[in-house]
Symmetry: C2
Subunit: 283 residues, 2 copies
């Protein structure tokens, strides 16, 4: 596959840092630079060998890059897409790693100069940890990366971003932004919402309770509720419609189970638990 | 503390087997026997050094024991409590490890001869794994064990069961059966129910979807939904009222979050996420 002359990673955290390390390892970027808003993280990223050079100024960082990866939280990606990309050469690629796609792709198609090629992306990979310190070249190995295709996506650009992710061991899947946002509403945003609601319920109904009663089941089920509030606020905002629709279906499932308990229909409850167990074990 | 002449563990699985190993290690039982319904597990328990002898017949196993521990699933404990305990000497102790307490303690107080001392118990410890192969002497280390006290509980018996659990490193907490069942409804049964409902929702709303989109958040949140259906049916049945009441409060939490999303009140949503994160991090 093509070697990039200059890759600019905007946001050198867990995802951006890992991608930088992985691209270095795959040897498909001559230079990798990072853009960040803290000197310390950029320094750290250089020390870890993720980037060759760091910039606090976006404009300087992206200058003459042939690939720009926006690897910040969703709300920041939306802001960056309105910045000036005119220093990029015609045909330069821009992609992102944001957790939602509809709003980001729409913003990109509205704001970016038509001479540039945008392909939205979302690696389904991550960790509790944040920051470049937690970055790892193998973070994307065998992980799904959704690439968002619209009627305006250029086939050549899509192919190049696909090969980029394949070169770091990921498995690209091409979906429309709408399909992506619907799927992550169910697999990521709804589970987050239910974990938050569970903790909120315990907090309010047991008046703090004795937290030592929390066993491994409760811990697993609510681990994600400790995620960064501002990031999740932005995700809920960017994907509100799909999340509300998934929540509606979740409440239907809850009500169906509640009905079985109220009716004391234990055999049907067991059948439902069996079906769920079977499905869950396929993951 | 007192040494027991003969401890009989009924149900030598993960919990019963671990307790047997731990009691051996603590050296407070001269003999430990097991009762099970499969020769193979009893043999395995002997090989692992958990029990000295195994019995398929309950009556033979408990004969002349001064401590009987019912360590089977809830529904089976309820059945065992109606068996004949007349071979036990006056003052012999009976306890259990079941996940609910109200029904079990009530059954014990109704069925057992008054010459015997019953104290209901529930160690908040466990694992995905089942069976004596997964047993470990340190399973209860630093783990809460709830002991259920009622107006009919004998202080001496309670004290002895308390010391028993302390001798294997656990931290006993004395609650009423009602308090216990309310707390586990929130910390264990409601999380199970929401995990099941989440998997059911994905299964039905995404028509199977592509399971490779399930990231670590979804996996953590729904891990317990793969629990044994018949065990969970019995728990839902034994603790139905508390679970329905917890579910009602959970739905209130869900609706409160839904309202913030509908209202696009992102700052209040962030505040709520912050409060939940703070509470979750205390666990």
């Amino acid at each position: 596959m093509k070697q990039f002359k200059k890759v600019c990673i905007v946001g050198v955290g867990l995802i951006g840092g890992s991608l930088a390390l992985a691209l270095k390892k795959a040897g498909i970027a001559r230079t990798i630079v990072g853009v960040g808003h803290r000197n310390l993280s950029l320094k750290k990223a250089i020390e870890l060998g993720a980037i060759d050079k760091g910039f606090l100024e976006f404009r300087k960082g992206i200058s003459r890059a042939d690939l720009v990866v926006l690897a910040t939280p969703v709300a920041t990606i939306l802001k960056y897409l309105e910045r000036d990309f005119s220093s990029l050469e015609e045909g330069a690629l821009i992609t992102d790693t944001g957790s939602t796609k509809k709003e980001i792709v729409k913003r990109a198609e509205l704001s970016l100069p038509p001479s540039l090629c945008f392909v939205g992306g979302h690696p389904i990979a991550g960790s509790e940890k944040r920051g470049v310190e937690a970055a790892a070249a193998n973070l994307f190995k065998e992980k799904i990366v959704v690439l968002a295709r619209t009627s305006r996506t250029k086939q050549r650009a899509l192919q190049m971003i696909k090969e980029l992710w394949e070169s770091v061991g990921a498995k690209p899947e091409i979906l429309s932004p709408e399909q992506h946002d619907r799927i992550v509403a169910y697999f990521s945003h709804l589970p987050h919402l239910t974990a938050v609601a569970l903790v909120k319920t315990v907090k309010e109904s047991l008046r703090g309770g004795n937290l030592s009663f929390a066993g491994s089941g409760f811990k697993d089920t609510t681990r994600i509720a400790a995620g960064a509030p501002h990031l999740w606020r932005d995700i809920f905002s960017a994907n509100a419609d799909e999340i509300l629709s998934a929540l509606l279906n979740f409440k239907k499932s809850l009500n169906a189970i509640e009905k079985l308990i109220k009716r004391k229909d234990w055999e049907e409850l067991k059948n439902q638990l069996q079906g769920v167990k079977h499905f869950r074990e396929q993951i």
